[in-house]
Amino acid sequence: MFPEIGQFALALALGTALVQSVLPMLGAARGNSLWMRSARSSSIAQLVFIGIAFAALMRSFVVSDFTVRNVYENSHSLKPMLFKIAGTWGSHEGSLLLWVLILAAFGAGVALFGSNIPVALKARTLSVQAWISTGFLSFLLLTSNPFERVFPPPLDGNDLNPLLQDVGLAMHPPLLYFGYVGFSIVFSFAVAALIEGRIDAAWARWVRPWTLAAWMSLTAGIALGSWWAYYELGWGGWWFWDPVENVSFMPWLLGTALLHSAIVTEKRDAFKSWTILLAILTFSLSLLGTFIVRSGLLTSVHAFAVDPERGLYILGLLGVSIGGSLTLYAWRAPAMEGGGLFTPVSREAGLLINNLLLTTATGTVLFGTLYPLFTEALSGDKVSVGPPFFNATFIPMMLPLVVMMGIGPFLSWKRADLKGVFQRLRFIAVLAGLAGLATWYVARGGPALAYLSVAIAVWLLLATMREWAVRIKLLDVPLTEAIRRARNLPRAAHGMTLAHAGLAIAMLGFIGSSAWKSEEIVFVQPGSVIEIADFDVRFDDVERVRGPNYIADRGTLTVSREGEFVTTLYPERRSYPVAQSTTTESAIRSTLAGDLYASLAEPASETAAEQGAWTLRILYEPLVNFIWIGSAMLVLGGGLSLSDRRLRVGAPRRASRSTPVATPAE
C-alpha cells in the first residue's frame, strides 16, 4: 500500500507543479497578488507531496519490501540498516526522486524564507522552479517509476553494489545533489529577472544566500566523493578526471565564478548580464551532468543502468530549459545597462580576471570531457582524454588565479593603488619564494612545477592572512582593540578569509600527494618487508573473516620506522556473494604529514593464494589530509558568509547605490 501512496503523492506533486508553473507567472504579469501568493502554498505542498513519496520509498527499503522492483534490484535483507536507507537513493529512480525532493526543498525554502524578496519576482522565480519540477516529475513518473512492483515477489534482493556500501558514499549523493540542484533556484531567479527585464544590486543580494548554500553543499559533496574514491577504490588517488567527476566539478567552477561576479553586481551594480549568464550556465552544467550520467553518453567508471530512451527525455528537458533560457537571454540581455565604471586596476578588474580564468577552466574541462564524443561523431575515431590533458591545461590556468586570489582582496573598488598593494605584499612574496626553496631543499626530485605551486599556495595562505590582519589592524593596535575589530568585521569577510586559506591548504595537499607520492606494487609472502618513504612494512599473513554480508581476506601488516613499531594495518579484500563482486578496503595510517596507505589486490595467482602470496599495493601520500582539511575550510567559509547578518536582514548598505525599492514582503 505504501508504494501506491508514494506514487499517488508524486502524481499530486506533478499536478501542483503544473498549477504553480502557470498561476503565479500570470499573476505577476497581471498584478493579481492572490495568484502570485499561491506560489507560496503550492511550493510547500510540492515539498510535502514529494517528501511523502520519498518516505514511502525509504520505508520500502527499510522493511525490505521486495515486491517493489527498485528495492528488489538494489537491496538485500542482510544489508546493514544504514545502507538499506542509503539504498533509497542508490538507484537511478531513487536518486532522481531525491533530485526532485531537493528541487522542491529549494522552492519551498524561497517561499518560506525569502520574505525580503519582492512578491512579483518571487512569484516568477517559483513559477520557473515549477517548470523544472514539472519536467523532472513527469520524467520520473513516465520513464523511471521508483514504485513499480514485481510479481511474483522474489525471496530476496540483488544487493546494492558493494562499492557503494560505504558511509562516505551514503552521504555523497545527498550533498552533491543538494549543491547540483540547489543551483536550480539561482537559475530560476535569473530567468525570472530576464522575464521581468530588471536586474539590480538588490537582485544579487537576494540570490547570494541560495548560491552560497548550493555552492557549500557541492563543495562538500565533491570532497566527500573524492575522499570515498581515495580510501575505497584502493588506488590511492583522489581525483581521476573521470567524466562523471568532471560534470560535478564544472558547476562548482562556474558556481564559484558566479559567487564572485554576483558580489560585483551587488556592490557595484556592474557585470549584470554576465552574472545572469553564469547563473543560467551553472545550472545548465548541473543538468548536463544529470544527462551524461544517466544516458550512457560517455565511458565512465560511474554509471547508472543506461537507457537511451531516458537519455532522449532528459535531452528534451535540457533543450527546453537551457535552450529556452539562453534564447530568453539573447533576447533580453542586450537591454541591460552596465553599471559602475572601473579602472583596469581595481577590485572589479580583479574579479573579472577571476571570472575569465574560472570560465575558461570550465570550458576546458567541458571540452576535454566531451572531446571523445566530438571526435567519434566527426571522424568515427575513439579516443579517451585522460589526466595528462587536464593536468596540462587546467593547472596552468589555476596557478595565475591563485596568485590573483592573494592580491584581489587588497584591491579597492573602482580604483586601486597597485603600488601600495605591492608594498604590503612584498614581504609575503619573499616568504612564499623561500617556502618554495625550502621545499626544494627538503624534498628534491619533484617536478619544477611542484615547487612553484608550493610557493604559490604559501603566497595565497600568507596574503589571505595578511589581508585579514590588516583589516583588524592586528599588531598596529592593542590586541583587545584588534579583537573588537575582528568581532565587528562582517562574517562574510571572515568567511572569505577562511575559504581562501582553505583553498591554499587544499592546494598544498594536491601538490604533496601528487608530486611526492611513493608507490610500490609487489608480490609478498609472509615475512616479506617492503620499504617505502621512511617505513618498513612487514607482511605477516592473510586470514579469512566473515562480515554481515561479505567474506573477507584480511591481511596483517606490521609497520615500523627505524626499527621502532609504528602501527599495524589490516587491509581487506571483501567478496560479496549476493552481488557477486569484490571490493578492497584499504588500511590507512593517517597523519598530518601524510598517509601510509595499504591495499590488498588479488592473490598473485590462484595457486599462490594457498601459499599465502599476495599482490600488495603500498603508497605513501604526503600531505593528502590537507585536501580534506582545506575542503572543510571552504565549506565552513561559505557557511560563515551565509550566516552574515546582512544577508538575512537585507538592510541596504551605504555603499550600494541602487537600494531596492521598498516593497512589502508579503
Binding site: 544516458s295 553518453l297 535531452l315 539573447a330 540581455a333 561523431a377 598473485a604
Partner: protein, 187 residues
C-alpha cells in the same frame, strides 16, 4: 554587437545539443574498444623462440591451417596480472584442450625462462618479441591481451587485460565457443 554576443551562448548550446542527439543513437556503445584486426587476417610477424625453453617460436604461418581456433596470449614476466592469468590459461589448456600460443612481450629471455619454470609452461609455441615490434603489429594497448584466431588466420576476438575472474572467464569461454562453431561451419 551586444546582441551578437548575447546570442553566442544559445548557438554554442545548439551545437552541443546536436552532438548529444547523435550520441544517443542506441546502436552506439561508448565502452567498446574497436580493434582494427577483428575479422582481418592476423598481422605479419615472425618471432624466434625464447632461448632454451623447449618450445618453438611463433610466426604468422603457425596460425594458418589449424583445424580449431587457437588462442594467442601476449604476456611478460614483469606483468603482474599475467601471473594471475597464468593459472586460468593453464586450466584452459589442460581441461578444455585449448591450443595456446604465446607472445613474450619485451621480456628478457632469462626472466621469461625463470617465470615459466616457476609457474609451468602451458604454451605450445612462444615467440620472443624483445623489440615489441610484433606487439605493435597486433595493436596491443598493454599486457596481457588475448586473441582468438580462427584456423584460416582470421582474428576473431580480442580480450584486453587479464582473463581473470568468473565474469571475464565466462566472456572469454563464450567467445571461444562461438569461434569453434564458426570454424566447424566453415570446414
Amino acid at each position: 554587437m551586444k546582441r551578437a554576443i548575447a546570442t553566442l551562448p544559445i548557438l554554442i548550446a545548439l551545437v552541443f545539443g546536436a552532438f548529444f542527439l547523435w550520441g544517443l543513437n542506441p546502436d552506439r556503445d561508448p565502452n567498446a574498444i574497436p580493434s582494427v584486426l577483428i575479422s582481418q587476417p592476423a598481422p605479419d610477424f615472425d618471432l624466434p623462440a625464447v632461448e632454451s625453453i623447449g618450445v618453438p617460436g611463433l610466426s604468422r604461418e603457425d596460425l594458418f591451417g589449424n583445424s580449431d581456433p587457437v588462442v594467442v596470449n601476449v604476456f611478460a614476466s614483469w606483468c603482474v596480472p599475467c601471473r594471475a592469468e597464468h593459472a586460468v590459461l593453464t586450466r584452459m589448456v589442460e581441461r578444455d584442450g585449448v591450443r595456446l600460443f604465446g607472445i613474450n612481450y619485451k621480456d628478457k629471455p632469462e626472466d621469461a625462462r625463470a617465470w615459466l619454470q616457476n609457474l609451468g609452461n602451458p604454451y605450445e609455441r612462444i615467440g620472443s618479441d624483445l623489440s615489441g615490434r610484433a606487439g605493435i603489429e597486433w595493436g596491443i594497448s598493454g599486457v596481457p591481451e588475448t586473441f582468438i584466431v580462427a584456423g584460416d588466420d582470421t582474428v576473431l576476438y580480442r580480450y584486453v587485460g587479464p582473463v581473470v575472474g568468473a565474469e571475464a572467464e565466462e566472456k572469454f569461454a563464450t567467445a571461444l565457443a562461438q569461434a569453434r562453431t564458426r570454424n566447424g561451419g566453415n570446414s
